[in-house]
Structure formats: structure tokens, C-alpha cells
Amino acid sequence: MTALGKLFRTTTFKLTLVYLTVFALFAAFLLAYFAWNTRRLVTQQIVATVDAEISGLSDLFQQGGIRRLIFAIDDRGSRPGSSLYLLTTAAGEGVTGNIGSLTSGILDKSGWTETAYRRIDDSDTAAEHQALVRVLQLPGGFRLLVGRDLQERERLHDIIISAGQWSIAIVVVLGITGGFFVTRRVLKRVDAMTGTAQRIMSGDLSGRLPIAGSNDELDRLAGNLNVMLERIEALMHGLKEVTDNIAHDLKTPLTRLRNRAEEALRTAEDESQYRAALERTIEESDGLIRTFNALLMIARAESGQARDGMMNFDAAEIAQGIGELYEPLADDKGLTLRVEADEAAPMHGNRELVSQALANLVDNAIKYAAPDNATLAPDTPPLNGVQPEIVVKAAGDGDRILLTVADNGPGIPADDRVRAVERFVRLEQSRSLPGSGLGLSLANAVARLHGGELRLEDNAPGLRSVLALPRAVSVAPASPPEARERATIPSA
């Protein structure tokens, strides 16, 4: 019963009822109009027939007197399906005709009257019939009544009314039944969606709404909701990953920090040892803050919050600026840093974040492409005859801007390139170098914030990192503020 009640409460069913009522009312109106018109037409026919008979009989009377009239009435009155006739004297006594009894007083009325009557051959107890009659005064005080039975008209009327009633009844029954089935079908699909939604709410984020394949509005709704669910799942997954990574990679330096402080408390003997331990502690916590900030920045970029700070700027200028910032460092490490960004590459985005992303890529290139011990001997001849260099490039490519950092160092094996972009991943050969391991993930998050991508390619030899950013950021659906708040790593 509750299922049925639910069904009656659906929008589809209510709409069906409304349409059905409107349709039935309209049909009833049409039927009434039709019935009324038919009745009028039949009445007109009767009137015409009676008029013709009266004028015919009145002609006969004028030509042949009363005898001829009586004769004609007798003749006509005895035919099957004949009209009704009655000829009386001035006193009202019947002379001839096929009417047995009449409602009294009819003969005194002139013009058209509807009256009850009995035929002359009906018994007195037989039911009275209805007739439409007209009375004509003849010279000599005679009165002639002519009329026609109305039974045919009433029957036709009844047939139309009852046919109409039946068809309306059938329409209503079929409509309700149809509405019931349509509603049940829709309800079934909505129930399926609700069920999935409840499963998702209870924690199973992999659930997706069923799609019937009919490409109707419910399918489109389900499709869009599925895209949304995918995004939510990705965000939740990201959040979980962040939490796991924080747990893993922040706990390590925190433990180190704590151990060192404890060790200093236990073993330090003079002020200088305490001082050294404290300095190390501050250094370590600075590193922690740095990692934490990078994580926040990534989370912010990934949740789309940094979209507020978008502006127009020249990517070539960024390449030159970052190139100039890092050139001395590269030089120090025995690398040549070259910037190829002569043509303006205007784009729309977050200038600060794009700068930082590019800086991270250059920083990475310097860390990994630097020849060993370069700092100790800056003038050593190049390894394998290749002059180690880094090229920073900004160029337009169709509707995208490509910010490229290419080095000719050891590169990253093809299998590792995807993993390299993930948070905190530091490939085996780079474990010994300083850094939070967040540089590439931040660059990746920035690229994604702009609707672009970070590509790691083989520079043969070396690594080529490409930030491919659209010139204009397409307006991606902004997440609601609360969701954004939650997507961020809980901040201190």
C-alpha cells in the first residue's frame, strides 16, 4: 500500500491526473454540444415535415372541402410510420384522425406544442408518447392538428449521450492505467537512482547511476550526476591520498625532529652543543613548514580555489624571469641555462602559480641534470662530450601555451614518468637529493587547475617537462564553498 501511495504521489502520476481531467472535461463539453446540435437538427426536420403536411392538407381542404380532407387524413393516417392527425369540430369533437387521446387544452393553443398522446389503436393503459404538434384553424370552425412522434429524436439523443459516457469512461480508465504504468516505470528508475545514491552516501563511492540507454532526460540527468560522482570520487581519493602521504611523509621528519631534541637533552654537555641541536631543530621545522605549504598549495590548486587569482599575463615573461632567477644556480652546478622565449605568449591564468610550477620544473632539472661534483670543479670537461644544459622555452601552440624545460641529464625511465608526478614520489636514483618530492606534483596540480597538463617526455637524452596550458582557462564548474573548504587539507 505504501508502494501504491508512493506511486500516487509521484509527479508523473499527478500530471497524468491533471491531463486526464482536462481531457475528460473537454470531451464532455464536446459531447454535450454534439448532442444538443443533433437534437436541434432533428426538431427542425420534424417542423419542416409537419409544415409541409399542414400546407398540403389545407390545400386539399380548400379544393375539395371537408370530405376530401377527411379522406386524405384517413388515408395518410393508416400508413405505417405516419404522422399524427386529428380533425375536430369547433366544439372539439373528433371527426377523424389517428390520435386516441391528448393532453387536454392542446387544441386551443396555436403554434408548436410538445404534448403527450396515445394512438387510436393503443389501449388506454399503454404508455403515452411524446409528440410535437401544430394546430390549424380551418374555415367552418374545424381544427386540424398535425404532429410527429418524438421517440426517434429521443432515442438518437440517448444513443449519443450513452456512447459519449462510455467513451469518456474508457478514456479515464485507460488514462489512469497508462499513467499508472508509465509512472511505475519512471518510479522504478528513480528508485534505482535513489538506491544508488543511498549506497554512495553510505560510503561506496564507486557506485554509478544506472543508464537505460534511451537517451531521455533521466538518462542525461544520470549521466551528468555520474560525471559529478566521478569528480567527487577523484577528490575523495585525492584527499585520502593526501592524508596518507601526510601521515607517512610528515611523520618521518617529525620523528627525526623529536629524536634529535631528545638526544640533545640526554647527551649535550655544554651550551654550544645545545645551540647546535636547537639550530638543527629550527632547520628541520622550516623544512616541515615548507613541505606543509607545498601540500596546501597543491590541495588548493586541485580543489580549484586558486581560480580567483586569474589574470592576463605573458608566459614568455615568466620563462625569462624564472630563467634569470635560476641561471646563476645552474651555472654554479656546471649547467648552461638558456631561455628561448622571444615571442610574447599571452595567456590567462594564475601568474604566481604558473611561475612557481615552472620554477619547480627548472629546480628539478638542475637537481637531476647536474653532473656529479660539478660544484667542486666547475671547469671539468663535459661528460661524454655533451655540454650539460637546460633549455627553458615558452611558445604558443594552437590554443595552448607550452612552457618547456628540457635537460640532457639522465632523464626518467618511461615506466617511472607517470609515477614521478604523484605526490611525494621520489624515484630511486634521486633519494639522496634534498627536496620534498612535491615539485612535480605541484606543477601537475597547477596544470590541471588551468585545464592543461604536465607531460614528461624523453629528450633523448634527458628529460623534457612540458606544461601545456590553454591560453584561456575554460570555465570549469566551481565547487561549492563548503565542499572546497572540506577538500583542503585540514589546516593548522
Binding site: I282, N293, G309, G321, L325, P328, L329
Partner: protein, 233 residues
């Protein structure tokens, strides 16, 4: 930290609701010779800032009763232009922009190091004095801002444009500690944290150009804080 203290004592107003952090700041400023007063909510802070003569205000962004940006905005609308530094747990670029737009003169995200805060406060206090000469001089080092000429002991030194701006900033704040972040912000206009200390390399290049071959070193590294250009003696 001790070599960072400045000759002139400053009067500071700290508007901060975190008692521990505020007490730490008051104590730390006193150690380097400054006087710091304390207000623990926005309204109190605003009243004190309106009354007293301070060299610099240190305003926490999130305060009870009246938030930090409103405090600064109100002061500015009343024509009080005491330099204000905003402290905030929100470290993002657009938050920074909001803070500066509200009338703040500098913005420092938490957590910060005291030496960074001190360096910025001293620069802010000095800015008020208005040091806008056309030629900066430190000992025998001379920088002409109009002709873009740099001389040491009357010998011209050729600098790259960025090196010139770096030296210009250092000399503008001669005798004051300038942190790496301040240099990155003011000379390069970047507000992010480069993972490697790129600034150090720029400084060492600049140092080799201006100090190499001279017995008196002018460009000093202040341990744990930053750099300072000064007449050594």
C-alpha cells in the same frame, strides 16, 4: 639574533589574540631593544592605535570583535598611516593581495621566524623616515639610481639589470637585515618559496662583483636571517 638589533628603539603595537604568541613577541622585541605593547582583540587594538604613537603595528588577521583588515581599514580612513604588518595563517597569494589592498603595508604568513618578522618591521619603520635619495652610499660603494651607475672606490662596476636592483634594494635598507623572502618579493616579485636557495647564488655573484679584492667586506650574511649591506668598520 643579537647582531640584528637596530640602533633606534621602536614602539610597536601588537594586536594578537593568541596570548602565548603575543607574549613571545613582546619578550623577543624587548631583547632586541624595542618596546612592544599588546592588544588582545580588534576593538582594543583599534582604540590603542588611534591613541598612541607607534612606529609599526603588527596585526593578526583573525581577531575577536573586529578583524585585522577592518582595524587597518578604519585607521586608514581616519588618516592614520602608521605602517602595519599583517600576520595571517592564510598564506595564499590572493589573501596577501587582500591584506595589502585593505591598507596593510606588508604581509607575513604564519608560521614565521622572528628574524623574518624583525627584519620586515625594521624596514617598515625606516620606510616612514623616507629614504629616497638619488644616490645611495655605503662606505666607498656608490649607487646612482638615475644613471644606473655603480662605483666602488671610484671604479665603475658593471652589473646586470637584476643585480643592480638587488644591490639597490640592499643599499636602500643599508644597515638593516634583509631576508631572502624579502629579496624574492621585492627584487623578483615572486611570492612563492623556491625549494632551493636561489637567492644565495645571486648574492654570492653580487658579492664577487662588489667585494672581491677589497679588504673591507660590505655585503654580509646574517646567520639564520638574511643579508645586510653595511659599513663594516
Amino acid at each position: 639574533m643579537k647582531d640584528q638589533g637596530s640602533e633606534v628603539a621602536m614602539r610597536l603595537l601588537i594586536i594578537e589574540d593568541d596570548r602565548d604568541a603575543a607574549d613571545y613577541l613582546v619578550k623577543a622585541f624587548r631583547e632586541v631593544g624595542h618596546v612592544a605593547e599588546l592588544a588582545s582583540d580588534g576593538e582594543e587594538g583599534l582604540a590603542q592605535a588611534l591613541d598612541g604613537q607607534y612606529d609599526v603595528l603588527i596585526v593578526d588577521r583573525m581577531l575577536p570583535k573586529l578583524d585585522g583588515l577592518t582595524v587597518i581599514g578604519t585607521l586608514r580612513s581616519k588618516g592614520i598611516d602608521t605602517p602595519a604588518l599583517i600576520l595571517s595563517a592564510l598564506a595564499q597569494v590572493d589573501d596577501r593581495v587582500k591584506g595589502l589592498r585593505a591598507g596593510g603595508d606588508d604581509y607575513l604568513p604564519k608560521p614565521y621566524s622572528f628574524s623574518e618578522l624583525l627584519a620586515r618591521i625594521e624596514v617598515l619603520a625606516r620606510r616612514r623616515g623616507g629614504r629616497e635619495e638619488m644616490v645611495y652610499r655605503v662606505a666607498d660603494l656608490e649607487l646612482d639610481r638615475l644613471s644606473h651607475q655603480v662605483k666602488r672606490a671610484n671604479d665603475e662596476i658593471i652589473l646586470q639589470p637584476r643585480e643592480f636592483r638587488l644591490l639597490e634594494y640592499l643599499m636602500k635598507h643599508a644597515g638593516q637585515v634583509v631576508t631572502r623572502t624579502m629579496l624574492l618579493e621585492n627584487v623578483w616579485d615572486y611570492h612563492f618559496d623556491p625549494q632551493t636557495n636561489v637567492i644565495d647564488v645571486h648574492i654570492s655573484r653580487l658579492r664577487s662583483k662588489i667585494d672581491k679584492g677589497f679588504s673591507q667586506q660590505l655585503l654580509h650574511t646574517v646567520r639564520g636571517a638574511g643579508y645586510m649591506i653595511r659599513d663594516g668598520r
